[in-house]
Symmetry: C2
Subunit: 420 residues, 2 copies
């Protein structure tokens, strides 16, 4: 992509009303735009990051047997009354509206009710189970206060997976498989090392509920962590006397701020009983389906990456999610010969399948380097008059700042082999 | 994909309340599920069709310089008051809700206001123009009556592109390029031959507004067509005296039912003036940006394909959008040796990159063939005891019913070369 074609531009200052580091940097770099409190646009570079994150999530969900679907936002109140989750007294994040045709509708903030009702059409026997469906779909939540930039908004993509099992054993096995898949996702997104599967409330050490918490100063949550033992618990669990099952004592746990990057709920038969999702077991007996739900917010993951990995110069994308692998920065562009030469390098890289953002703007080197640092592609390749004369390219790795000098051939070899 | 793994199933009868052919077939085949009037779920096979349609749309929009973004559904009333499109007296499809934090919000039914406001951040000079942005995003419309299955729903994906130009000439050139791209899309989706760029109201033959209408008995719209001359007009245009510019007379035009599969609006400076989107021209003068908007509904396109191309046995997908290219139907599956043999053919096809739906169910041949016809993949490959003995595969092409007998090698050669 040529930067002269890209409609977004960087800006020096973040908007005054934006206090979260993730949104400040993403707005300054032109990845996102704040439309109103709690609602952002994702611009071309930002959408590429989201799509990379979604691709990683899909691959890992497909690998554990997930089947992708897409359910509507519009919600029929009758369904939610059956589980007692329609009333504003019980659920405080509904957006509701009036249908012109008469009656109320809601805008989905989660989809347990919808997917349970849908499965009544497809599940009748134990032979239909287990099954796992997921979607990456827009959720609406009427938060009193949107905060933390793109971390807690009123409208956001959610990957929500729902599991349907005939037995507790099958449920537990999938629960475990999904927790492993989540850690693979967080590893691939670049913040696995700082992420803990925490033990959350509800019978403490039962496998009822888990959160995935990423240690970060920008976090809204609090966890108690032993980095040494790789154990984290939330406040309710800490309050309980017996931590021995986890092999830690209270003294070993340190209080830390964190971001909830994923969660897993064992739902038992709460929804299947309320909505009538049953199956016939081997003996012909009717049984309610055992369910679970499993969430990850792609934009929250994006914000987490920015909060954790950026430095004083700007964003630092892991290669797995970066909008482009290489930022090709052309200098001396007012010299037609150098510009043609740089255009040639751009074409040659693209021909080899390398994903390249090409700064072909007519701007000063200092401005180009500052923008390049802010935008945060994994590698910067500088092409100038000197490059052409000496045949050597300056390649700077964004995260550690390491610099290499590569011949043209070595340059192509390096990036053609990149796993982009 | 193995059908024993796929959670959806076919059903013999369509729901009684669903009168549209597209929804009847798609529900029976398990592509979609009706959650409530005007809101459908897209199930794994249906979502694959939508994604194929979206891919084709993206390729053609990118080819004419479109840059993809994603704007929020939540709408700030202040923005829409500036163009006088907030009041229910002026716009009758709003879903509106109350923010807990105070004030109203709307749910976007189009995005002219949002994208115009956004562009104020990025457009200041004629050098920033022209630029074209698009999204494939969920729209909400509070229709009094949802109808025609997935053709007119209360919630639907829309590809909406917006153009921003400095001059009328630049605008007209893009308008033309986008109209050409639309016809390419409809060709690739399989209904280009039945689709006309119609001349719609508003100054008749000015280039103000065009619709793309696909002739179909299931259509809600009416157009007047000369198939011979390739000209179509809508009712308002017909009423005008002078059709000579189009080279047709009233007598040559036949009244036909049609589906509006796309539209193009020249917006002039209506939105840029109301919302303050200006640029400095070559002389340093402030000018309002000239805009256009360009819509296609991917689910409506999917419904159009089903309405137009299906037959009495079921759906007929063009290869370009089919969820899988090959439906591999295994017979004699209770013979372990034949089942292993068929599994081997499945693996061999997949290894060659062929996208295959594999009917590995324990069911009668008649049921399998009926389901295969209903599901509508472009090719059916039957594997049975006889296949194994004779080394010849029966391949049936879905649309014309042509049957071929191919050796194993010829089978692989045929589908490995498919442009899937």
């Amino acid at each position: 992509m040529r930067q002269t074609t890209l409609f977004t531009k960087t800006q020096k200052e973040a908007p005054a009303d934006e206090v979260a580091k993730n949104a400040q940097l993403l707005i300054r770099a032109g990845y996102i735009y704040k439309n109103m409190a709690g609602a952002y646009s994702f611009l071309p570079l930002g959408l590429r990051v989201i799509e990379n994150i979604n691709r990683i999530i899909r691959e890992e969900m497909d690998a554990i047997g997930g089947q992708e679907v897409h359910m509507p936002s519009l919600q029929d109140p009758e369904l939610w009354k059956k589980t007692d989750r329609w009333s504003d007294a019980h659920v405080d994040v509904w957006f509701k509206s009036q249908l012109q045709a008469g009656g109320e509708v809601g805008f989905g903030w989660t989809h347990e009710e919808v997917v349970t009702e849908l499965m009544r059409r497809f599940v009748s026997s134990y032979k239909d189970l287990p099954l796992f469906v997921y979607q990456i779909q827009n959720k609406f939540r009427n938060e009193v206060r949107a905060k933390s930039g793109i971390m807690r908004t009123r409208e956001f993509w959610m990957k929500d997976l729902y599991s349907f099992c005939a037995t507790q054993e099958a449920h537990d096995a999938f629960h475990e498989a999904c927790a492993d898949a989540y850690m693979k996702i967080f590893d691939r997104l670049g913040f696995g090392a700082q992420t803990y599967k925490t033990f959350a409330s509800g019978g403490a050490f039962s496998k009822v509920s888990h959160e995935f918490q990423t240690l970060a100063e920008a976090g809204e949550d609090i966890v108690y962590v032993s980095e040494e033992k790789g154990v984290a618990v939330n406040e309710e669990v800490l309050a309980e006397a017996d931590l021995t099952e986890l092999g830690v004592t209270k003294d070993e746990l340190e209080k830390r701020k964190s971001i909830e990057v994923g969660n897993i709920f064992s739902l038992g038969t709460k929804f299947s009983e309320a909505l009538g999702l049953h199956f016939k077991d081997e003996h012909g007996e009717n049984q309610p389906v055992i369910m679970g739900s499993y969430g990850i917010g792609p934009a929250r993951a994006m914000g987490t990456i920015v909060d954790l990995l950026s430095d004083e110069k700007g964003i630092v994308w892991p290669a797995s999610v970066a909008p482009y692998q290489v930022h090709l920065v052309g200098l001396n562009g007012n010299d037609a010969e150098i510009r043609d030469y740089t255009d040639g390098i751009y074409s040659a890289l693209r021909k080899r399948g390398v994903s390249v953002l090409y700064d072909d703007r007519d701007a000063r080197p200092g401005e180009k380097f500052a923008d390049s640092d802010l935008l945060g592609m994994p590698y910067r390749v500088v092409v100038s008059k000197r490059t052409k004369e000496e045949g050597m390219f300056e390649v700077v790795e964004r995260s550690m700042g390491e610099t290499m000098a590569l011949t043209e051939e070595a340059l192509y070899a390096k990036f053609s082999n990149q796993d982009t």
